[in-house]
Point group: D2
Chain length 222, copies 4
């Protein structure tokens, strides 16, 4: 089966799924600056809009630069729940780790989990399906010598455990980015493969994330 | 009027006030390690118990070491609201500032205010009277050369503004400690006046805080 | 005696002094980004050049952005000693404090003193007269509620003590900036008085520093 | 050849080598708290003394708790050069990384290299043979989820590059500890395998380091 025919098949599956809804499935991407940039032309949400049938999926960005998990918690009523989403994709964690060294105001790992659980609880109570994501990268070097690798690995594992514990779908972007870099970053560069600046997505990165998200949305609809 | 007779008068006023309740006024001190130590023998809550009429005031400590404002938020249901307090004294802030340099996980000033407001909102909704306190000290030097003085001054002002905005009583321990040290710490020592280790209260400090709290509780009952 | 005539007298004293040298007194300003910007048009060194007689003073900037005391130590052979200065004005400290929270790589106070002493020792060994400066400001609020005020006050005191211990002239810019702001910053603004961004000098700031430096150079020549 | 006979042969080679000196080879271990503890009974230097022939090797500890590379630089005259060592084993790096988050005063990677080079230069100028070591561990988890893993990997690589560039022997304790933990820490524990507290050596750790050091000293004597 060619890639094209496989894609077509995938899209028809999504179509079949989506048709069962009276109106398009409303998906909110809830996150930080990466998601904020995702709605710009060429951003991952912008790309996804072209990859998913518009009559079946309504994709909304709710990203704000610098957000940590407790920022999401504090603003979720207005920015997410008020819009009555069917699906909420939570993608956060980079700033919880990064702000430790850049401002001294990162998030303790145990509080990270507590606020993440509180966010999930409220989303579930509003009958939204929740999809979790791991933070992708602060530096693309593949030998775990990026300064925040230790924390990113730890916080990603906390999210994986949370997804497992609550039986929620997970987009493991941390793992996906590393796998991609292991294949495509032979010079161990810290940026320029999927990111422009170690953190934010370049063109390839936005496309890559859009594809990962598409897969998850299709899976979650099954 | 002598100090003694004034104190007696004050206590009788408190007495008159407290008698109007069917049962003792339940006061919860909600805070960090300083409050956790406050219930130990000689601690400020322990001292307050001896300074206030037991049939009129029930004093409860709810302090946990290392707590920041959002820790209070996360545990307030179980540790405070479940006990149906009449008055809640919130004393927090040292770790929100201190953890910036010791763990990289302090609290951003704007989030500090947001969570503080969220704590107050829930306490008010439960019909508790709320008393705010400013964080006293991380280092007792009086020339503003203690490392965290800038932040402690800033966060204290945020709490003062909050108290004013919401018309809530304030125990300005930051100001009270500085005033005390200006009189009693001529050698500009960083500890040993009201604290044993720059942060936690020694005997004089526990007595001093007990007196400040007594005044506030009496005022708040008027 | 009017201010003008006093200034003229001062300048002639400087002139007399300078004339005793076969060539102009070579002054190197050794510091961080503030000094790096000082040689730009309108910068404090650029202004000083117009304020001091060119045949008597040769003013050289040796500032590099982000420098801490040990950066000065590491590059002093090439950037200062090789140029055989008569006078070296050392102005450093902002990054030693600031990098604590922005990178986690500030300088411990005791190491700050040790490296400062090592810098002075080498300069003295090369027969340069040394002038010390205190770090001016990270935030212009006058109520000591700028985040780094505690550390800036502490490190400034370390420099004052060092100047006293070694009998070296001191330009106390920390004190001068605070005094200026107490008069000219009634709204307690954090920037815009002498700085453009809390740290780097605006037009008024460059002029102010130039005047402080002029005074010190004239004093040091006596 | 059995392990025993190989060891005996090695020791005799060391013997032959050492005999060529009029007096025992003087080795100074120059480092932080791990080395400071190394001279205590059961410490790695104490163990080494029993593993190496006393008439051929004089082993001296020069470790001070909390030391970073520039602390070594600042005290090397008194603590190392004054003792005219034949060999200096430099083992540092944990605090350069760790102090970023615990005090905000870690060492920038580029300055780490510059001071390390300055230390080596002075040791070479004093005719000491220099052996470098990588920092072993801040947390023994093997999935690179210890908070400082990214930095420890980076700084270790900087030391490996330095050893290669200057053709100096290297004890790659970072690699050795990881390899050991991959075999002996199946539960991904953060301490208790070679360390008591994630950083400092337990009994097994001291023995392991003693063996690594023995190998390096024997190699370096060849």
């Amino acid at each position: 089966m060619t890639i094209l025919s496989r894609s077509l098949l995938s899209l028809s599956l999504v179509g079949l799924l989506a048709m069962s809804f009276a109106k398009p499935t409303r998906v909110i991407f809830f996150g930080d600056s990466i998601t904020q940039a995702g709605v710009s032309p060429g951003g991952y949400i912008d790309r996804l809009k072209k990859m998913m049938p518009a009559d079946q999926f309504e994709l909304i960005g709710a990203g704000i630069g610098g957000n940590k998990i407790y920022d999401l918690y504090l603003r979720m009523e207005d920015d997410v729940l008020a819009k009555q989403p069917d699906v909420v994709v939570v993608w956060v964690g980079v700033n919880d780790v990064w702000h430790k060294s850049s401002f001294g105001t990162g998030t303790d790992p145990d509080k990270f989990v507590k606020f993440y659980e509180a966010v999930i609880k409220k989303l579930k109570a509003a009958n939204a399906r929740v999809i979790l994501c791991t933070p992708a990268t602060i530096g693309e070097k593949t030998d775990f010598s990026n300064q925040q690798d230790g924390d990113l690995n730890q916080y990603s594992q906390l999210i994986r455990d949370l997804a497992k514990r609550q039986n929620l779908p997970l987009v493991d972007l941390r793992k996906a980015f590393l796998d991609y870099n292991l294949k495509n970053n032979p010079d161990n560069k810290e940026k320029g493969v999927l990111t422009s600046d170690r953190v934010h997505l370049n063109e390839a990165g936005n496309q890559f994330v859009a594809e990962q998200m598409q897969k998850a949305l299709m899976e979650s609809g099954k």
